[in-house]
């Protein structure tokens, strides 16, 4: 894109819409009745023609959920959620099981067009060379389309919606579903287990390097819906997969709930790279509306030399409560967590990671960059646990926070538990503001103060941006600029 055009676009973005994904698509939906009881769970299961074992699994989760209490330890503050005032299932009408793109509601396709998701392969191919990404698009509760399936099939990679996987590959789903995040893990994960509607499923067979990036786009559209997607990714021995996740939602006054569960399983010598650009609607200037993002993400390096890497760019949501974790079970397995969390307006972020070292010679690396602006609060909360048997475990943690403005907060709450003497654990954290010298220099060179802030912030988060796949890195960089609009001056 020519530089001039890009500048024009940026200026337009500042003037017109603070949240550029805030449109709503008028699509007829199939809604489950409002509220949650056993019949809701049965309704969802029946809608998806699920086998008996899965219904039982859901019901078990639902019964356990009823005995659980909402967690309150995070540094977030919000009115109590009325779980009976939500729709737990919303599917675009008439598109149940589309065979091809032609069967998909054109309105829906236009939505994705607006979002800039390359649903049609030819569009992708017409775009940047080599930018080939297979996309699974999830609209409210249901996966609507998955691209590039044939090519993936040739490589032996299974990439489909989880409901489809339940039908086509029940043995895999049964083996791995809930094996990383157990049904009773926490309040929101248990709720998700009871009512999850859809999500993506990936299985990469032994020795296969997935030929392209896999991607899912989530969008909440319907009013008062909760989105409860469930993602399950399995990299068999020696396999490699890189997976991207993007999220948006329309601008609404009320809060919408998003409680997802993501489970990753990496077997011997396998590697999973999971990247997220989370841009749910953060609420308006006065903190009204926005998504509650209560997500459980966990990866299990189940066998030797497995590697799981989480990269996240969190700019959206009114409230984020999310701790992508790695269980380093296999000897010499590795976990990584790279995070950029930006909060502006009245956003509240409580995010971080857990690195559980169980195997010998395991290593983990945490790089977290938190940026708070406006009246937001941004908390890094992380656990590094070195188990008694984790001989020679290594961890390095770096948490940096940047504050922009007088009314925001940046907090760091690390827990570091060492139970083995041969372990080496290092943790450092700093909090600072953008230096006046840097700002002055940029402005003296003709940048506006807003551009200068975006530039400096991009430098601050560079370590993490470098971890993102190329296409995402560009998107994330722009998103950072947009998120910080109005934070200076």
């Amino acid at each position: 894109m020519p530089a001039v055009q890009e500048t024009v676009d940026q200026v337009l973005a500042i003037d017109v819409d603070q949240y550029k994904y805030g449109f709503e698509t008028a699509i007829e939906s199939d809604l489950a009745p409002k509220g949650l009881d056993e019949s809701t769970v049965r309704f969802i299961s029946a809608k998806k023609n699920e086998p008996e074992w899965l219904l039982e699994w859901r019901l078990d989760a639902f019964r356990r959920w009823q005995t659980m209490e909402e967690p309150t330890w995070a540094r977030v503050d919000y009115p109590k959620i009325d779980f009976q005032d939500l729709y737990y299932y919303a599917a675009p009408k008439g598109t149940a099981g589309p065979k091809s793109l032609d069967e998909v509601d054109p309105e829906l396709l236009r939505t994705y067009e607006k979002l800039g998701i390359p649903l049609r392969e030819q569009e992708v191919l017409a775009g940047v060379q080599g930018a080939r990404i297979a996309v699974d698009a999830v609209f409210d509760s249901v996966s609507v389309v998955t691209t590039f399936r044939d090519e993936l099939k040739k490589a032996g990679v299974i990439f489909c919606s989880i409901s489809e996987a339940v039908r086509e590959h029940p043995e895999l789903v049964r083996k791995y579903l809930g094996s990383v995040v157990p049904v009773t893990d926490n309040f929101y994960a248990t709720l998700n287990s009871a009512v999850f509607s859809d999500g993506s499923f990936v299985y990469v067979p032994p020795g296969v390097r997935c030929p392209m990036e896999l991607s899912t786009y989530f969008r909440i559209n319907e009013k008062n819906t909760g989105q409860f997607e469930r993602t399950l990714i399995i990299a068999d021995r020696g396999a490699y997969v890189s997976y991207l996740e993007g999220c948006t939602a329309p601008q609404r006054d009320e809060n919408q709930l998003h409680a997802a569960v993501v489970e990753l399983v990496a077997l011997e010598d396998a590697e999973i790279k999971y990247s997220t650009v989370q841009n749910w609607y953060p609420g308006d200037r006065d903190g009204k509306g926005g998504i509650y993002n209560f997500v459980t993400k966990r990866g299990d390096c189940r066998e030797a030399r497995a590697k799981i890497s989480w990269t996240q760019v969190e700019t959206g949501s009114a409230i984020t409560w999310k701790y992508p974790s790695c269980i380093l079970r296999g000897d010499e397995s590795q976990g990584e967590f790279y995070s950029i969390a930006i909060s502006n307006g009245y956003q509240q972020v409580d995010s971080g990671t857990k690195m559980i070292h169980l195997g010998k010679n395991t290593s983990s690396r945490i790089i977290s960059k938190g940026i708070s602006a406006g009246r937001s609060n941004n908390t890094y909360r992380g656990l590094v646990s070195i188990n008694r048997k984790a001989t020679n475990a290594r961890n390095f943690t770096n948490c940096d926070s940047l504050l922009i403005g007088h009314d925001c907060g940046a907090h760091t709450v690390p827990y570091i538990e060492t139970r083995n003497a041969t372990a080496t654990v290092e943790h450092e954290a700093t909090t600072s503001k953008i230096s006046e010298d840097q700002l002055f220099y940029c402005v003296s060179r003709g940048l506006s103060s807003e551009e200068a802030v975006a530039l400096i912030v991009n430098g601050f988060v560079r370590d993490v941006l470098q971890q993102l796949p190329m296409e995402f890195a560009v998107e994330a960089q722009k998103l950072i600029g947009i998120s910080l609009e109005g934070s200076v001056g």
């Binding site: 925001c408 570091i416 003497a421 372990a423 954290a429």
Partner: protein, 445 residues
């Protein structure tokens, strides 16, 4: 009992032995001649304890120090020892020190030296029936008052000293607050220290006891430091290996005030040393360091909350722990910077060396920041002694055990070397050396 009855039974709180002991202690009501204000404070504190019990792992601040599990019993209070027995227990005073001696929780004015000019000391036991002098010094910090251990102290406090250092007084002698336990007794000490504007003083606290007695100490010090005043504070806790030691230092720093604090923790089966510091005047400085030595199955917790409530505060924290055997060290440090506390400069470091495979180190360094123009950071490490350094020393002909000792001394040295008072620095070093010698002897045997 039919099954349904079990299912619908009201959950009843099961009290631990230590909780029962404490409630018994309260019920037995030793002679207390409190003022109405003090009595109200006590009643509220015990009511809170009755409801919540001892703090356990589900209480965030006690996540790693579960007192329901760690504290087995609480011994009874001791009667007053006769002066000669107390004198024998206390031993001679060190040179250049004015001593304030406590034996099993009782202040012994007869054993205490003549006070320097500008310093006044009153016994808390004498003040409790009146409460007026104390009233404005108790409950300095809301954070501290909510703490369960401070709550227990408030409920049971019997004695202590109220020290006042008059404005502009530079006290040449050290003031030593010494507590000696003679057996398995509980002592609840509450001290209030006010160092007025531009004064300067060095205070040393020593806690000792017999090697095997399960003594129990819960002490709270409320320290206010006036404008431009300087306090050097050194604490040596070398109680017996069956003891329980809980201490809380609540400090309030006025403008340009300075606290230079060091704590050695080398004794007690279960120990928790808390520091709650609050900056209420600008340009104040807090420096706190600690050296913790642990062996066997001991458990030591260092908890710190630094509250920067005003701009231009500086805080430096350095906590070092050496952990042997199956011992467990806990460090929880929290720096809070409030919204208007611009130009705060806070740095916190916590380092642990694990000498065995079974040793454990728990670290929770927290930052809670609401002001944008600040520089704050923390660092935390845990690991074993550097094998390469040890190898180097051994290659130069130093035996393995000695090489380890040297490396441990060097590791703790960074915290110890900053003690301003030379005599106190030597004492702390001597205690560390004694610990290392015991360790070497145990290893040889």
């Amino acid at each position: 009992m039919p099954e349904s009855a079990v299912m619908t039974a009201e959950p009843r709180i099961l009290r631990t032995q230590a909780e029962k002991d404490l409630l018994d202690l309260w019920r037995r009501k030793p002679e207390r001649a409190d003022s109405a204000a003090i009595a109200t404070l006590r009643d509220a504190a015990i009511a809170r304890f009755d409801k919540a019990g001892l703090p356990h792992r589900r209480v965030e601040e006690y996540k790693y120090t579960d007192l329901r599990a760690l504290l087995k019993t609480v011994p009874p209070l001791a009667g007053r020892a006769d002066v000669e027995a107390a004198r024998a227990a206390a031993g001679p005073a060190a040179e250049g020190e004015v001593r304030l001696v406590f034996v099993d929780g009782h202040f012994e004015p007869a054993l205490s030296g003549a006070l320097p000019k500008g310093v006044t000391v009153e016994s808390l036991a004498n003040l409790l029936p009146h409460g007026h002098t104390l009233g404005d010094r108790l409950g300095l910090s809301a954070t501290a008052m909510q703490d369960p251990l401070v709550g227990l102290n408030t409920a049971f406090m019997r004695d202590g000293v109220v020290i006042r250092v008059a404005a502009r007084t530079k006290v040449a002698e050290r003031i030593a607050i010494e507590h000696v336990a003679t057996g398995a007794h509980a002592a609840f000490l509450r001290h209030a220290v006010a160092v007025e504007d531009l004064a300067e003083v060095t205070i040393v606290e020593r806690y000792r006891g017999p090697a095997d007695a399960a003594s129990h100490v819960n002490e709270v010090v409320e320290l206010t430091i006036g404008d431009g005043a300087t306090v050097h504070w050194v604490k040596l806790q070398t109680e017996g290996l069956a003891a329980a030691h809980f201490s809380t230092l609540v400090v309030d720093l006025s403008e340009k005030a300075e606290l230079d604090h060091f704590a050695l923790g080398a004794g007690a089966a279960v120990a928790r040393a808390q520091v709650f510091a609050r900056f209420s005047g600008e340009h104040a400085t807090l420096s706190t360091r600690a050296a913790t030595l642990l062996e066997g199955r001991r458990h030591a917790d260092a908890t710190l909350v630094v509250d920067h409530a005003v701009p231009h505060g500086t805080s430096r924290e350095l906590y070092r722990a050496v952990i042997d055997g199956e011992a467990k060290s806990v460090f929880q440090g929290k720096i809070v910077v409030r919204q208007h506390a611009q130009k705060t400069d806070g740095k916190m470091a916590s380092n642990a060396v694990l000498l065995t495979d079974a040793a454990e180190a728990m670290n929770k360094p927290e930052l809670e920041i609401f002001a944008d123009d600040v520089v704050c950071g923390h660092g935390a490490t845990a690991g074993e002694l550097d094998e390469r350094l040890k190898f180097y020393l051994m290659s130069r002909g130093i035996p393995a055990a000695e090489a380890e000792t040297l490396l441990i001394m060097a590791f703790l040295g960074e915290a110890v070397d900053t003690i301003a008072d030379e005599a106190l620095r030597d004492q702390v070093t001597a205690e560390i050396e004694a610990w290392l010698e015991r360790r070497a002897a145990a290893k040889a045997a």
